[in-house]
Amino acid sequence: MSEKSPPTESELVDFVRSIDVAAPPELHRRIDAMVTASSPARDRRQPRLRFGVTGALAAAVIAVVLVIATSGASSTLTLHTAVALTQRAPTMPAPAESPSEDGTLAAHVEDVAFPYWEDRGWRASGERVDRAAGRSVTTVFYHGAHGQWVGYAIVGGTPAPSVSGGVVVKRGGVPYRFTVTNGVKVMTWLRSGHLCVVAGHGVSNATLLSLASGVGKGAQAA
């Protein structure tokens, strides 16, 4: 395989078949987490069947009580919905840089402002505001110099909808949760109690993390 000894085709085949590269441990961890997350749903079916009708009724009553106890319009917003909003087209022009020039845009959700990233190569290109499950979801879209883009959504209202699963990476003590939702790479975290979602196509996980963790002010565990 070296430049000094060009491979014959059979040498090439032998070499390719001998490669023993292992996947990075982080990928193994992510896959393990996904497999674990996918397994309990199936495992739970068996005990339920053993309980029979009475058990099923009891479970249903408990489920209804839980739903009533925890419901509020705000609790039903899912990450799936929030991510879907970041994939839609903007409906408003991009917000301008904040007059205070504090690294933010003149767009915010309650006291959480959207970041100004133009000096980092990401220009705000549009905005949209939606309502989902009783919450406002404001999304600002950013475009990179090479055509890549991300949608950055801040969900209004606290407490923030809970997000689970995926892989958590800490930066500056703040947990950033990476998931793939409907084929879209997503990073979620909290800023001042608000759920923030950055999602995009054509960007690496590292880019998402860098963008998300670059706005650490007020960030909290998600």
């Binding site: 023993d20 497999v35 084929g183």
Partner: protein, 190 residues
């Protein structure tokens, strides 16, 4: 027929990662492709018609890869603007002296035309039999054999800097036995 056991899939991660690397030519993209492949497979219970999980994973990997190519073509992106904060894995192989050559060979494979690349990855990287690979890629076995043969020639030529004489032939799709009318089906197993 049997239901696919998600737990049994984890033993294929390394091989799938190597296949993804050879398809993409980059370890970072390979990670994403493998993760996306597993996300698809695990999104709902699966029933396998045969026993071979690897064959099934190859089909999903192929479809996921082709989907990513189509997505990328709609939103062409090359490289990230801001610095990557995740360090590259400094130990890509148990044999460090191989590391450079592995990258070189996988990059050469990733430059092959799609159908040649898929064939070589299925047979030489994943280790599927010609029959399994042909089923996974939905081509005739004779077509698969031709593609693997020519793919190896091109990679070997690419590594020695020789002009890839087969390239033009490959790109025009004239592959000999069984090539016509058996190009990729877009049926999605996921």
């Amino acid at each position: 027929m049997r239901t696919l056991d998600p737990q049994s899939l984890t033993k294929h991660v390394d091989r799938l990662y190597r296949a993804a690397w050879a398809l993409c030519g980059s370890r970072e993209d390979a990670e994403d492709l493998v993760q996306e492949t597993f996300a698809r497979v695990l999104s709902r219970p699966r029933v396998l018609q045969g026993d071979d999980e690897l064959y099934y994973l190859m089909r999903v990997l192929r479809n996921t890869f082709l989907t990513s190519l189509r997505t990328a073509s709609r939103r062409p992106v090359k490289g990230a603007v801001i610095e990557d904060v995740v360090a590259a894995d400094p130990r890509p192989t148990n044999r460090p002296e191989q590391a450079y050559e592995v990258q070189e060979v996988y990059e050469a494979i990733s430059r092959l035309p799609d159908n040649f690349r898929m064939a070589l990855v299925a047979v030489d990287v994943l280790g599927l039999s010609y029959r399994e690979a042909a089923r996974a890629l939905r081509v005739r076995e004779s077509t698969l054999t031709t593609r693997v043969f020519r793919a190896r020639k091109q990679v070997a030529a690419g590594l020695t800097g020789e002009p890839a004489q087969e390239k033009q032939l490959a790109e025009t799709g004239r592959e000999g036995t069984g090539a016509s009318g058996v190009s990729y089906s877009e049926e999605n197993p996921s």
